[in-house]
């Protein structure tokens, strides 16, 4: 510090020296970090779901650490009509356990209260309870629709469908499927991993993804994606090598559709990947540490980094 600086700013700089070097955050930030560790980082093997058990174990540890779980429990009640469980109508709150099934007809609805959230079961649904443990609350949605709201460490709440598995990463969503496995997942908070062997979609709030019998999840899109893009994505979901559909998708995409193009990067074959990169880079310029060669080589860390730069959806109070 010069003499002039000492004269002019001496008091200020003495106060600065007394500032604390450490400030505890006003809330526990670890659960949010733990959730992201599960979906980011070089230790992840995205191509398979073999890492799910290990991450579920980690999530269980987090669950214990943050002390958020009240212990597993599942209570079903009727919202409308006469939903069925254990071969009888639900007329009062009923505890369900692993192995039980709940079904609704065209005029009935049910509500499930879990230790980590709750779920509405819509008409025409059959839902089985596969596991009800502290670190794993797993269901099979055989047909119909549910709306789930979950507040738990990632990978605790899992819903299997005939064509894909929805793994909660801290979120709320609606999931509807038919008995063959065709359906739609729409996310209203947080993020959901929706996967089948060899194909995974990451669906954040404000986005949806179709799923198809025998193929698994398609390419996610934001809720206000244009019809031309959706049609092109449907064709690519059926035939990833469809060059005409790819050209149409790239032409129709906006910056807000970066989510779709980000997924397309790893869905299309290597020969088409450059065109997807170029269009996505035009709409959402990648940061300096994300290179074309890296993305063409499906470098996981670069893809993760670019993901952070995609336009994000936030919610505001409706009028």
């Amino acid at each position: 510090m010069t003499d002039h600086e000492r004269d002019e700013f001496g008091d200020l700089l003495r106060d600065v020296e007394r500032l604390p070097k450490s400030i505890e955050p006003p809330r526990d930030l670890w659960p949010g970090i733990a959730a992201r560790l599960a979906t980011a980082g070089p230790r992840r093997a995205w191509r398979s779901l073999a890492w799910v058990p290990a991450l579920a174990a980690a999530a269980g540890l987090v669950l214990l650490l943050v002390g958020r779980a009240r212990g597993p429990g599942l209570e079903a009640s009727a919202l409308a009509g006469r939903p069925q469980a254990r071969g009888a109508a639900i007329t009062r709150p009923t505890t369900l356990v692993a192995g039980d099934a709940l079904s609704t007809d065209d005029s009935s609805r049910a509500h499930l209260r879990l230790s980590i959230g709750d779920m509405d079961v819509e008409p025409g649904t059959r839902l089985r309870v596969l596991a009800m443990r502290r670190h794993e609350q797993r269901f099979a949605l055989e047909r119909g629709a549910i709306t789930a709201r979950v507040s738990a460490p990632p990978r605790v709440f899992v819903v299997e469908t005939p064509s894909a598995v929805a793994t909660d990463l801290g979120c709320a969503y609606t999931l509807a499927v038919d008995s063959a496995g065709n359906g739609l997942l729409r996310v209203t908070a947080g993020i959901v991993e929706f996967g089948s062997p060899g194909r995974v979609a990451f669906v954040p709030l404000g986005a949806a993804v179709p799923t198809y019998a025998g193929r698994g999840p398609g390419v996610p899109y934001v809720n206000d994606a244009g019809l031309a893009l959706r049609r092109a994505l449907e064709r690519l979901d059926a035939t990833p090598g469809d060059r005409v559909a790819l050209t149409a998708a790239l032409a129709a995409a906006r910056a807000d559709d970066g989510l779709s193009l980000w997924h397309l990067v790893s869905r299309v074959d290597a020969a088409a990947r450059g065109a997807v990169f170029d269009r996505l880079a035009q709409l959402v310029p990648p940061p300096a540490d994300v290179t074309r060669d890296g993305i063409l080589g499906l470098d996981r860390e670069m893809l993760d980094t670019w993901w952070q730069y995609l336009p994000r959806t936030v919610w505001r109070q409706g009028l």
Partner: protein, 171 residues
């Protein structure tokens, strides 16, 4: 290199959680002062530790872990702020957003001291240089590299920041 770091490098999340607990206060203070916003600071702290998890394998112990972490944190915060200029936020309506996600807050509540509040109120560029130079002890050359500006710009921003702070604090 400590056993804790080695275990975290090997993928032990429990060890990484211990590292987080050990360093989060220091990193939160840095992020809070660099951003001037509590909500943004919380997000950046999370970004920092996710990045640390990814990069931990490259830490060879050539410097103190706290130094390596601190540099990485500065990079994360400044990169995010530059990136934010290029991004736009999608906004959608929903009847009851409270049922979905915690809304962002622009409040500086919790910053506490008058000086902290004054630092938070500085223009972005001036605040970043002030925090890095006067609070964290970086040189102008280092700040110039981190912020992508000339050294002269860093010096000018520092002078501007000090002047503004002195005025805000009534000195």
């Amino acid at each position: 290199m400590t056993d804790l770091i080695r275990r975290a490098q090997a993928g032990d999340e429990e060890a990484f959680h211990d590292l987080y607990r050990e360093h989060v206060g220091r990193i939160y203070a840095l992020c809070l002062r660099l951003t001037g916003r509590r909500d943004e600071a919380e997000e950046r702290v999370q970004d920092v530790f996710v990045r640390v998890w990814r990069k931990l394998g490259s830490f060879r112990g050539e410097s103190a872990f706290s130094t390596w972490l601190h540099r990485l944190a500065v990079n994360v915060v400044l990169s995010e702020r530059r990136g934010a200029l290029r991004r736009r936020l999608r906004v959608e309506s929903v009847p009851d957003p409270a049922a979905l996600e915690r809304p962002g807050r622009a409040s500086t509540a919790g910053l506490g001291l008058d000086l902290e509040r004054a630092i938070a109120a500085l223009p972005d560029g001036a605040r970043e240089v002030f925090v890095l130079y006067d609070v964290e002890g970086y040189t102008h050359a280092e700040i110039a590299r981190h912020c992508g500006v000339a050294e002269g710009t860093s010096k000018a921003q520092l002078f501007r920041a000090r002047r503004l702070l002195r005025e805000m604090l009534g000195r």
